[in-house]
């Protein structure tokens, strides 16, 4: 059966990027239903974060006559209307409908100058889902980057902007990088300006959100010669390895920062000393039993043991990032052991 279970539309993936560009307008070239679906999901997310901003999303609102005669005129009019809102950039996302009727979206976008108008092919039926839209948007937007000299700084690539803990993950990576004196050059793309995207090539290292972004990492490495680290840090050992890896890329001595981080981790495990001796088993978000190497490592460091009859403790998806992520995880495990 081909019913999808764990992914969204290609459009949603692309919108999770384009709506994070400050001052952007995103045009969804298709029927209004496609835009409503996504606008509503983004609204839900903003509401969940108590963020009153709503992304600027326009639909070309194609109807039957456009399907018959083609939707390029409607797109041209929509881009003109979007330009009237003085955006920093206009991103044009295609849909299944415009893919099927064969509108030349790229050509319509090329007809505009002044404001950057970027075409991102995102017809949902192209076989991919959310992830492909995310990747497609990042690779399309990298065309805005100017090839420039490197500075000792890192880019964050492919942050999952729809994640509830997006800001916590960012803050933790920023803290770890600051501990070894590396600033962030560009968040590609999360609350990012067009100017910051244009400086993308200056970052000395691309830190990918997770290994699913390796395609984008390789693409940027080829294009700008920027090496990449394939994931935000996960778990206690993973966090130390992350510091070592960044240190290697920038040829820095990070032993002091590592010692401090290990001490921080030790303090956290001490804070949760009531968990020592507890027997636990790991459960996925649906409550099914699962296994996780990083959870075993954290459990062991906290003095817990894994047992089939142990307390069911959650393995969060996505896994919390860095040393502070361990603290978040242990709060949830302690609550599960008390329940």
């Amino acid at each position: 059966m081909s019913t999808p279970r764990d992914s969204g539309c290609t459009l949603t993936g692309a919108l999770s990027v384009t709506t994070e560009i400050e001052g952007s307008v995103t045009i969804i070239h298709g029927p209004s239903g496609c835009a409503h679906h996504n606008f509503s999901l983004l609204h839900a997310l903003c509401a969940g974060r108590d963020d009153p901003r709503l992304p600027r999303v326009l639909s070309t609102d194609l109807a039957e006559t456009d399907i018959i005669f083609g939707g390029e005129d409607a797109l041209d009019a929509a881009i003109r209307r979007a330009a009237g809102k003085n955006p920093s950039i206009i991103c044009v996302l295609s849909t299944c409908v415009t893919g099927a009727i064969g509108d030349d979206v790229e050509a319509v976008c090329r007809g505009f100058s002044g404001i950057p108008v970027i075409s991102i092919p995102t017809a949902g039926f192209l076989g991919g889902g959310f992830h492909q839209g995310h990747v497609q948007a990042l690779t399309s937007l990298s065309s805005l980057a100017e090839d420039d000299g490197k500075i000792p700084s890192a880019n964050l690539v492919g942050e999952k902007t729809l994640e509830t803990e997006r800001d916590e993950h960012f803050n933790e990576v920023r803290r770890l990088l600051a501990a070894i004196g590396i600033p962030i050059c560009t968040r590609f793309v999360c609350r990012t300006s067009v100017g910051e995207i244009s400086r993308l090539s200056r970052g000395g290292c691309n830190i990918l959100r997770d290994p699913s972004m390796e395609g984008v990492g390789r693409f940027l490495e080829e294009r700008f010669g920027t090496p990449f680290i394939s994931s935000f840090p996960i778990g206690s050992r993973g966090t130390i390895q992350f510091l070592e890896e960044v240190g290697r890329v920038f040829s820095l001595d990070v032993s002091g920062a590592i010692a401090e981080e290990e001490a921080r981790q030790a303090r956290i495990f001490h804070e949760f000393r009531s968990l020592r001796g507890k027997r636990v088993r790991f459960c996925d978000p649906s409550g099914n039993r699962t296994d996780s190497e990083v959870c075993r490592e954290v459990a062991s460091a906290a003095g817990m043991s894994v047992h089939p009859e142990g307390y069911p403790v959650p393995v969060p998806e996505p896994f919390p990032v860095g040393t502070e992520g361990i603290r978040r995880l242990l709060y949830r495990w302690r609550r599960a052991c008390r329940a």
Partner: protein, 385 residues
Amino acid sequence: MHDCSGPLWPCALTGAAAALAGIGGIGVVIHGSAGCYYYPSSVLHLPLYCSSVTDRDIILGTEDALVRTIDAIRDKYDLVAVLCTCIPAITGEDIRGMLEQAYSDSTRICVIDAPGFSGEYEDGFRSAIRAIDPPVSGGKTGVNIDGLSPFDPFRQGNFQEAQRLLGLAGTVAGAALPSGKYRYGQPLSPYTLHTNPDLTLDLGESLGCLVGLSRIEDAIRRIASFTGGADDLLEHDIPLAREKITAACDRFIKKFDPPHVALFGQCRTMQEIALMLEEYLDADILVIGSRNPPVPGKYRVGRARDYDTVVEILSRENPDLVLGSSFERYACPGAAFVGVTPPLRGTVRLHSRPLAGIEGALALFESVLNACMDHAKRRPDDPSP
């Protein structure tokens, strides 16, 4: 103007899925790309299936993808409803002929055209119910309840309230459609009571609608005309509700000016709510922003299906009370707000709150008066709410 900025209302496909996915015995297959599946699946919280067509299917034909999906579920359901999205509508494949050839009489399949570009949520909703053609039987007792869409956050509350009122009126709830208590193929009673005036279905004789106290009274009188017993409701419950609402509104008006109100949602429903607000609270109804095609009524109505239009209406009318969805709440943070239209994001909702029926009217006024008083407390020098 062709484009719309931040569309606020779902398309015909979501309407069709909302109409059928809650009916027992029907397996709903969305025939289109995976993207078309994701949104209805996430907002309806009901089982849906998808043929997940790809570009290869567009070139070579979508039959394999559709048949594969139907094969996987057909044993579980009495009827498989295939909802055709924009893509099969554009490619023009003969889906009915294709499925007739593949299954003949071995599987009961109903093909419904629901491309998003062809219509509104309500169009898709009604055409899907028409397509399955629920049989009406003269011998069936009870009263059907319709308008119970799983997209509606008040659905469960409305269902419980309609059941309660029917019981007090001396009869029982029959089928509840589409997402209440109904299995495909079961005969319906010849009488139907509506819980949403914008989603009425043509199923037997209409007994009226449960939104608005006057409408409720009319509906109960009609029911009483054949049950012979709704005296408690007509002589006690409805007058008592009116008395409570009047007393609470009087207390409010003694201290504050009546609110200037803008309502956003399905047109008929908003008109019924506006009538009550005017009658009991002397509210000034500034405008109704309609998500679906407007119908004429007592108040000024404009189409409000996209966010920019909502913002424009709100800044022009400057209401001090807004009834609508969380989109309106975000667009007009300075006004008192009551949620009556989906989506209602950013708030915790655990219990089954009705908008229809006597309890629905009481709950509405409770929310309106509390919102207006809270709003007034934030602006202590201003008597307007």
